[in-house]
């Protein structure tokens, strides 16, 4: 079982203060890495034996922790309201989930998660030469969040159509803004006198 503290030590040796923090324990340990050293950190982790990139995703923290409505007065029977979480350092967090899998026995030798905070569309360097499935994963992050990856060509949409404008999983994209290719933008509502049959 790979020990996250040992991995922290190895990364500190390789990139110094580029790895900023280690949180969590065991399989849920998360290493936070700076944007400038992410490529080197992932190369070091791959060399340490993490042969499978399980997942690469992004989380948008715009508006995180802001509570628009006032907190209800504390009452023993109401569910516990948590204290407001700490403000995140940047807006987007890329999450790389790595697995060290022993092909002969089928057992996991360790898992580690690497978190990379980015503040704009310049995401990080592409890792599709380290793990080929990063190709589609990075395209998906670009498609839904607009985070770009340098060092690779061919960054195009994968789940949405090319005519789509915007990145829907960002927090400032309203869920019901529609961009249909054909057909009306909104279904006509019968109560407003709209006719549901399409024009002849």
């Amino acid at each position: 079982m790979k020990d996250p503290k040992a991995l922290l030590g190895v990364l500190r040796d390789a990139i110094g203060l580029g790895v900023t923090a280690l949180s969590g324990a065991g399989d849920d340990a998360v290493l936070s890495v700076e944007q400038a050293s992410i490529r080197r950190a992932l190369e070091v982790l791959k060399a340490q034996g993490f042969n499978v990139l399980v997942d690469l995703t992004c989380v948008d923290y715009l508006g995180y922790g802001k509570d628009e409505r006032p907190a209800p007065p504390s009452h023993p029977y109401l569910p516990q309201r948590w204290a407001s979480p700490p403000k995140p350092p940047h807006r987007f967090k890329l999450v790389y989930r790595l697995l060290d899998l022993d092909a002969a026995s089928g057992l996991e030798r360790g898992r580690i998660t690497v978190a990379l905070w980015v503040f704009d569309e310049r995401g990080g360097p592409s890792v599709r030469d380290l793990w080929p499935n990063a190709d589609w994963l990075e395209r998906e992050v670009w498609d839904l969040f607009g985070i770009g990856f340098t060092g690779r060509g061919d960054l195009r949409r994968i789940l949405l159509y090319p005519e789509f404008v915007g990145h829907p999983l960002r927090k400032d994209y309203p869920i019901d803004r529609r961009q249909p290719l054909i057909g009306p933008k909104e279904a006509p509502r019968p109560e407003e006198g709209g006719d549901l049959r399409p024009a002849p």
Binding site: P168, I175, L181, G183, E186, L196, R197, P198
Partner: protein
């Protein structure tokens, strides 16, 4: 003419109106084009297989070319990305043709009221039969199909 429109001229020969005969022929020989996208496809498979059996309605053989099919069954959610493809397939079918909106995602968009889903395929193609349900039980599909058959019978020769 008897009350169901049939007159037996001699043993083995029936006379009826052209509209009734054509309607009868069309409703019992449907060639569905199952445009299957999502979960409703599971219930479509269940309906067409042995337990619920679509074959006894004459709609056994799916035709996977729109030129050869006359019943377009839109099964499952239609996203905006596939909507032009659906419209093109509908345009490629020859008259008489009927469209079944199978599942609530095709009727109204279902509970996917968001940027990616067409809120009802009747905004793109004209629909003859709506079968709501998420997914509809095979019994509901069979009832819907029988209602469609009644509609086809009543349409007669000129179709739509």
């Amino acid at each position: 003419m008897t009350e169901n429109g049939l007159l037996e001229l001699m043993p083995g020969v029936l006379a009826t109106r052209v509209d009734d005969a054509v309607g009868w022929a069309r409703k019992y020989s449907l060639f569905p084009y199952p445009f299957v996208t999502a979960c409703c496809g599971m219930e479509y498979m269940s309906t067409s297989c042995s337990h619920y059996d679509l074959d006894r309605f004459g709609a056994a053989f799916p035709r996977f070319s729109p030129r050869q099919a006359d019943l377009l069954m839109v099964v499952g959610t239609i996203s905006h990305k596939i909507a032009p493809v659906l419209r093109r397939i509908y345009d490629q079918m020859a008259s008489p043709k009927w469209v079944v909106a199978f599942g609530v995602c095709t009727c109204t968009g279902g509970f996917y009221d968001n940027y990616a889903t067409v809120q009802g395929i009747d905004t793109i193609v004209p629909v003859d039969l709506y079968i709501p349900g998420c997914p509809p039980r095979p019994e509901a599909v069979l009832q819907g199909l029988m209602m469609l058959q009644a509609k086809i019978q009543s349409q007669g020769l000129e179709g739509r």
